[in-house]
């Protein structure tokens, strides 16, 4: 091996290639990761002396048992697939956007503010405002990256905390708090939005709203943009190699900023779905975690639009079902545990490689597989 090239943000390998190419079979890798994480959490429930079969029955019932639960799965899945797409789009240009949470928070706040105005097209306006707010917050780490070389993982994490404190600790508790909440500790949140800004519900007996089909349409648009347009190609080229892209005439820094703006906009829209679909105001206590979960969704989804949709719906089902786990005395945060385990397992495709080879009974598969690019090559 000759001298190792400098590692770090501009290593010769793209983030995408590093993350996903070792998974020779992303679909099977993800399926195994999901299955194993479910099995491990099954054992974890049993280990604390609770009934795992009953727990999983409640989980399934809470996710799929009728119109109501299916609606919950759909609305949670819609938010998760948007934040997952947000992280995936950033992967495309080679950035690891951990800031979906902060972008979601600003998007949610923008939707809650605009949704109160008496505008003719208040619903589309609120959605646009949310996308714009998220895009602006996503643009900051992109500019810091291309101008100042600040690693996006660190800057997006710091921006998350800045957003959380500014919005939850100041704006929603102070200047934007609903009138009449008095001097007591405010958990009231902002004034409710106008009914015209609500996302219309689609089914009786379920909270399923227009946000779900909207999210699916957006996912299709993102897929089209990334894989079928000139701009999408330039984004992918930038992600595959910043310097090579620049050498072939692509303004790579610009493309990074554009993609991060879209990434932020997608997270902002996810926040808007929460506000316009179910909350109908910016609540005083708003601990979503959807932005952080978007990382898990994107990784398990293999960084592609279709994979992200499926992963988002799966984790949406887990989240919807996890609320029922309280019936057997398990905290809903158990969903986070399942997710984290799935990501841990998906991160290590090599763990499954021997097993997959044996399952297929083809010892030659390894040789036929594309070579795994490593930075040292």
């Amino acid at each position: 091996m000759p001298d190792a090239p400098p590692a770090g943000p501009d290593a010769a390998m793209s983030v995408r290639a590093r993350l996903f190419s070792p998974a020779r079979d992303p679909l099977w890798g993800a399926a195994f990761a999901v299955f194993t994480s479910l099995a491990v959490s099954f054992i974890a429930i049993a280990a604390t002396g609770r009934n795992p079969a009953l727990g999983f029955a409640y989980l399934a019932d809470g996710a799929f048992g009728g119109a109501g639960p299916l609606g919950e799965t759909a609305i949670k899945g819609a938010v998760l697939l948007l934040t997952g797409l947000s992280v995936s789009v950033a992967f495309t240009v080679g950035l690891f956007n951990i800031g979906a949470e902060g972008q979601l928070i600003w998007g949610a706040l923008a939707a809650a503010v605009v949704g109160r105005f008496d505008l003719p097209l208040v619903l589309p306006c609120a959605l646009l405002a949310a996308a714009a707010a998220g895009a602006l917050w996503g643009l900051i780490p992109a500019l810091l990256k291309v101008r100042r070389g600040v690693h996006e993982v660190i800057s997006t994490i710091l921006l998350n905390w800045i957003a959380i404190h500014l919005v939850h600790g100041w704006l929603v508790a102070g200047p934007l708090a609903a009138a009449g909440s008095g001097a007591s500790v405010s958990v009231a949140g902002t004034e409710p939005i106008r009914a015209a800004a609500f996302l219309p519900r689609l089914l009786q007996g379920s909270r399923l709203d227009l946000g779900f089909p909207l999210a699916l349409c957006i996912a299709f648009a993102v897929w089209y943009l990334l894989t079928r347009t000139h701009r999408g190609f330039e984004w992918r080229a930038t992600g595959a190699g910043l310097e090579a892209a620049e050498a072939s005439g692509i303004p790579a820094s610009r493309r990074v900023c554009e993609a991060m703006a879209l990434s932020g906009a997608l997270s902002g829209l996810a926040g808007a779905l929460l506000i316009l679909g179910t909350e109908h105001k910016y609540p005083g206590v708003f601990r979503t975690g959807y932005g952080f979960d978007g990382i898990a969704v994107a990784l398990v989804g293999g960084g592609t639009a279709a994979g992200t949709v499926f992963a988002g719906l799966f984790f949406g089902a887990i989240r919807a079902g996890a609320t029922r786990l309280q019936l057997v005395g398990i905290h809903p945060s158990f969903a986070e545990l399942i997710q984290g385990l799935a990501v841990l397992l998906v991160a290590a495709p090599r763990m499954f490689a021997p097993l997959l080879r044996r399952l297929r009974g083809a010892p030659g598969t390894a040789a036929a597989a594309p070579p795994v690019p490593t930075v040292q090559a």
Partner: protein, 291 residues
Amino acid sequence: MSLNAILDFAPPLVFAALGGVLSERAGVVNIGLEGMMRFGAFAAAAGAIFSGSPWIGLWCGALAGAAAAGAHALLSLRFRADQVVSGVALNLVALGLVTYLLQSVFGSSGVSPPAPSLPRDRFGHTALSYAALIAPLIFAFWLSRTAAGLRVRAVGEHPRAAATLGVRVLRLRAFCVLGSGALAGIGGAALSIGILGQFDARMPAGQGFMALAAVVFGKWTPLGAAGAAFFFAAADALQRQLSFSFHAADLRLDGIFLALPYALTLLVLALSIGKTKAPAADGVPYDPEGR
């Protein structure tokens, strides 16, 4: 902002930052510091509560951090998972698992019962405050002046050259990641049984990431990272002082003050970066077979 307040708030950041330096100088990116601190903070509180001794709690915190780091080492070194992903996944697991444990062990999703805290001297400091002053010096000496420290730097800069000279790269990296986890675990313990006297479900509230920023700001050196950690601790102390003297809670302005240390960290990073350089092989998986 008094010196006392800085000494109080510094240990979590200093120890986690030293952990970050240890791991990254050996060539393993450690985004999982946050999760390791979380495990450490919980285990320290739980250990102190069940044993009645804060010192046993401290050991539990270090061990729990190291155990979490073991998962990171296994995934990123043995299975060559992407180190950033592995760390992020560890943080997600820590978030879910610790909340789950808090609920099943103490029956609360908010805070643990009060834990026996580390004893304070007549100035009101725990031993960890003084350790945070001394540990960076010892660590700096070890890293730059001893054979073991040279080997650590070698596997972080040019692992293959180190391997040629007989250094067992993966084993040494694994040790460094485990040590990094133990240091982060002590940092977490400093939060739960040092500062607050109980575990809070929100711990460590981004301190692991601030420590990571301190590593970058400190140019991957023990003294630099510790200095940055003290700087951030000072920013935190200043924030609390300002917030208190402006009656921020009454005016509903505390969010602005709470956001201040993070904004300051970001500003410092934006202004300081440029010439800083990570260890050459930081984040690069090492394959003994040279593929």
